[in-house]
C-alpha cells in the first residue's frame, strides 16, 4: 500500500498539480499556535505540512528558523512533545505530516522507538538534514517496515554517485535543496536548478520537492514549474507574527502560484 505522501503526489500528478509544502516550527511560539497554523495551512490548500522539531544547534538553518527553535525550546518543546502534538492534531486533520528534525534528538530518543511512536501518532515522513544515507542504513530499514517515508536531501553539489545513493534510500519524495546554503538564504534562479533536477529525473521517477530560499509567490511559481512540489519555510516563519488575514493572503498567494 502506498504511503499518504505517495498518494498525495500521485493525485497531484493525475491532476497536473504541484505540491505546496509549508513549514512551521512546532511550539513556536506555542503548541496551541502551531495547531492553528497547521489547520490554516490545510485551509489555504497545503498538500503536505512540514513540521520542525526544535534543536539547540540547527546547523542547516538560517537565523529565522534558529530563532524559531530558540522560542520553541523556551516553551519546553521536545521531540516527545512534538509527537504528542501530531497525535492530538490528527483529531482535526489528515493532511500528510513530515517531521524535520536533527538527528541527535532522534538518537537520544532511540531511533526505533522514535519511528514507532512517530508513525503511531500519525507522522508520515521524516527529514533529518544531518543524517545522510551513509549513516541511515538501520534507520531506513526500520522506517520502511512501518511505512514511515524517509526523505533525503540532494543539493546542487551532489554528484551522480550521490544522486544514486539518495534515490535508493529515499521514499515519499526527494528534497532538493535549491541553493548551496542554509534555510532562508536568497534563491538564485540561474538555470542550474533546472539542470540538477533533470539530472535527478534521469535516475528516478520519485517526486522532487524543492526547498531552502523560496520566499515570494513568483519564486514559488518558477520552482513549481521545474519540480513536483515547493517547500516554503523561513518566509512563512517570518510572517507568523502578522495578522491572520495577512498570513492567509500570503499562503493563498503561494498556493495559487504553485500550480
Amino acid at each position: 500500500m502506498r504511503t499518504s505522501i505517495s498518494q498525495t503526489f500521485a493525485r497531484l500528478r493525475r491532476e497536473g498539480g504541484k505540491a505546496f509544502i509549508p513549514y512551521v516550527m512546532a511550539g513556536d511560539p506555542s503548541i496551541g499556535r502551531s495547531r492553528e497554523i497547521v489547520l490554516l495551512f490545510e485551509k489555504c490548500g497545503a498538500d503536505i505540512v512540514e513540521l520542525g522539531v526544535p534543536f539547540s544547534d540547527p546547523l542547516a538553518d538560517g537565523p529565522i528558523i534558529q530563532r524559531a527553535a530558540e522560542r520553541s525550546l523556551r516553551q519546553g518543546t521536545s521531540l516527545r512533545s512534538v509527537i504528542s502534538f501530531v497525535r492530538e492534531v490528527r483529531g482535526a486533520t489528515q493532511i500528510p505530516i513530515v517531521l524535520m528534525t536533527y538527528f541527535n534528538p532522534v538518537f537520544r530518543y532511540g531511533p526505533s522507538d522514535f519511528i514507532r511512536d512517530a508513525r503511531g501518532a500519525g507522522v508520515d515522513g521524516v527529514v533529518i538534514p544531518d543524517l545522510p544515507p551513509e549513516e541511515a542504513t538501520d534507520f531506513v530499514r526500520s522506517a520502511r517496515r512501518l511505512r514511515l517515508d524517509t526523505i533525503f536531501l540532494l543539493a546542487p553539489t551532489s554528484t551522480e554517485e550521490r544522486i544514486r545513493k539518495v534515490v535508493h534510500y529515499s521514499s515519499g519524495f526527494i528534497y532538493y535543496v535549491s541553493i548551496t546554503g542554509i534555510t532562508g538564504a536568497e534563491l538564485l534562479l540561474d538555470g542550474s536548478m533546472e539542470r540538477s533536477i533533470a539530472q535527478i529525473r534521469q535516475r528516478t521517477t520519485m517526486p522532487i520537492a524543492v526547498g531552502f530560499g523560496v520566499s515570494t509567490p513568483d519564486e514559488a511559481a518558477h520552482v513549481a514549474r521545474l519540480s513536483d512540489g515547493v517547500i516554503v519555510g523561513s518566509a512563512i516563519v517570518k510572517r507568523l507574527g502578522d495578522t491572520r488575514e495577512s498570513l492567509e493572503r500570503y499562503l493563498t498567494a503561494l498556493r495559487q502560484a504553485i500550480a
Partner: protein
C-alpha cells in the same frame, strides 16, 4: 598509519562518522581524497616538512621541568614545548598543513572556528603564509575573554566574525563556520581546528598533530633511554592529546586526558564530557556529548576557552571505552594553581588549557614513585590568558 578499529569508514569503534547535510558530503569526499593523495605526494610532504622546520620551528624541545617536578614529587616531568611553536600553540601544526592542502585542492578561501583564539590565529597565519582569504568565526563571549587573539587575527589580515547566537562560545562558532562552508563550499576549505567533526577531520587532524608524539618519543628515548611511564594532556576537542598519544598507542605507556572540570560537575558548570556526558551525534560525528534528556546540547563552562566545548573528538570516546586512555578532569581552581606553579618554578607561563594537564600531574605525582617519567604536552603558552587571569583576580591591567 594506524587507523580504524572498525571496518566502517570514518569510524573509531562505534564513534565518528559523517553526520552533515548533503551539501557538504561531496566536499568531505573531495577532502578525504585530497588528504590521502597528499600522503603519497612527495612534493607536498617535502613542503610541509620544510615549513615545519623553518617556519613553525620544529622539532619543539622536550624540556625537563626539574624544579616543577621536584616540587610536585616526581623529578622527571618533561614538557613537550608546543608553546614554543610559531604563534604559541600546537594549533599551527594542523593549520599550516590544512592551508597547504586547501591551496593544493584549488580553494581560494579558508574559514575556521576558534575558541581560545589559538586556532584562529594559526589559521590566519597559515592563510597569510600561502596567500588565501581567511575568515574566522568566534563566539562573542570568547572574543571578550581573548581580546588579544582577536586583534592578532586582524593584524594577520583575517576577518573575525562575531557569533552572538546560542551560548556564544566555540560550539556556536562551529555551527556558523559550518553554515558558511555549506554556502561557499565550492571555493572554501573549512580548517577544522581539532580531531572532531565529520570524517575525515578527526583522522586528518590527528595525523597532522601526531608530529608532536613522534618527536617526543625520539626525544625522551634520547634523554632517558626508555619510554615514559605517563603521557598527560588536556582534552578540549582533543587534538594536542591525540597528537602526543597517537605514536605511543601501541607502547606500554599510560595516558591521561584531562578535561575541564570548571566549577564542578553540575550541568552547565563544566566541560567534562566523559564525567558528565553521554553518547550523542553533534556537529558531524558520534561521540560523548553534554546534552539533556531531549538531545539538546547543554551549556558548558571552563576558565579556559579552548576546553569549553560540549563534545570531544570521537577517537577519544573510543580510547576511553577501550580503556586505553584514562580520562579525568581538573577544576578551574586547580588549573589556575598549576598555572601559577609552573610560572614560578620554571619561568614558563602555560596556556590555561595546558594548565589543566599540569594540574593532573600535581595531583597524580603524590601517588607515584620517584623514578616515574611523565611527559606533559605543554600545548600552548599563556600570554593570551594573562589579561583574563588578572581580571579573575580583580586586577585591571
Amino acid at each position: 598509519m594506524r587507523t580504524f578499529s572498525s571496518r566502517k569508514q570514518g569510524y573509531f569503534g562505534p564513534y565518528g562518522g559523517r553526520f552533515v547535510p548533503e551539501t557538504l558530503m561531496p566536499a568531505l569526499q573531495e577532502l578525504e581524497e585530497g588528504f590521502f593523495s597528499s600522503l603519497r605526494d612527495r612534493t607536498f610532504q617535502q613542503e610541509l616538512a620544510h615549513l615545519r622546520r623553518t617556519y613553525i620551528g620544529r622539532p619543539t624541545p622536550l624540556y625537563r621541568a626539574e624544579r616543577f617536578g621536584r616540587r610536585v614529587g616526581v623529578p622527571r616531568v618533561y614538557l613537550k614545548r608546543e608553546d614554543l611553536a610559531h604563534t604559541g600553540a600546537h594549533k599551527i601544526n594542523n593549520a599550516v598543513a590544512q592551508v597547504l592542502l586547501a591551496k593544493k585542492m584549488g580553494k581560494n578561501r579558508v574559514i575556521a572556528e576558534t575558541g581560545a583564539g589559538q586556532h584562529g590565529v594559526a589559521t590566519a597565519t597559515g592563510a597569510a603564509l600561502v596567500g588565501l582569504d581567511c575568515e574566522i568565526y568566534m563566539g562573542t563571549d570568547d572574543m571578550a575573554r581573548q581580546a588579544l587573539n582577536v586583534y592578532r587575527m586582524r593584524l594577520l589580515g583575517a576577518r573575525v566574525t562575531e557569533v552572538a547566537t546560542g551560548s556564544r562560545t566555540l560550539k556556536d562558532a562551529i555551527n556558523e563556520a559550518l553554515r558558511d562552508w555549506t554556502t561557499n563550499v565550492r571555493t572554501t576549505h573549512y580548517v577544522m581546528g581539532t580531531v572532531f567533526g565529520p570524517h575525515p577531520f578527526p583522522l586528518m587532524v590527528r595525523h597532522f598533530q601526531s608530529v608532536i608524539g613522534k618527536e617526543a618519543k625520539r626525544q625522551i628515548l634520547d634523554a632517558e633511554g626508555r619510554l615514559p611511564d605517563y603521557l598527560v594532556a588536556c582534552v578540549g576537542g582533543g587534538s594536542n592529546a591525540l597528537g602526543l598519544f597517537a605514536p605511543f598507542l601501541e607502547d606500554p605507556v599510560r595516558m591521561i586526558g584531562v578535561e575541564a572540570g570548571g566549577r564542578g560537575l553540575e550541568v552547565g558548570a563544566h566541560a567534562a564530557r566523559f564525567a558528565g556526558g553521554s553518547v550523542g551525534v553533534f556537529q558531524g560525528c558520534k561521540s560523548y556529548v553534554l546534552q539533556d534528556d531531549n538531545g539538546n546540547i547543554v551549556g558548558t563552562h571552563s576558565v579556559s576557552a579552548g576546553l569549553d566545548y560540549a563534545s570531544v573528538g570521537p577517537e577519544h570516546s573510543f580510547l576511553k571505552e577501550s580503556g586505553r586512555v584514562e580520562y579525568t578532569y581538573a577544576t578551574d581552581d586547580e588549573a589556575l594553581s598549576a598555572f601559577d606553579l609552573l610560572s614560578q618554578t620554571e619561568g614558563i607561563i602555560p596556556a590555561l588549557e595546558s594548565a589543566h594537564a599540569l594540574a593532573e600531574v600535581v595531583k597524580r605525582a603524590r601517588t607515584l614513585p620517584q623514578e616515574t617519567i611523565i611527559v606533559v604536552n605543554l600545548s600552548g603558552r599563556g600570554d593570551k590568558d594573562v589579561q583574563h587571569v588578572a581580571r579573575l583576580r580583580g586586577e585591571d591591567l
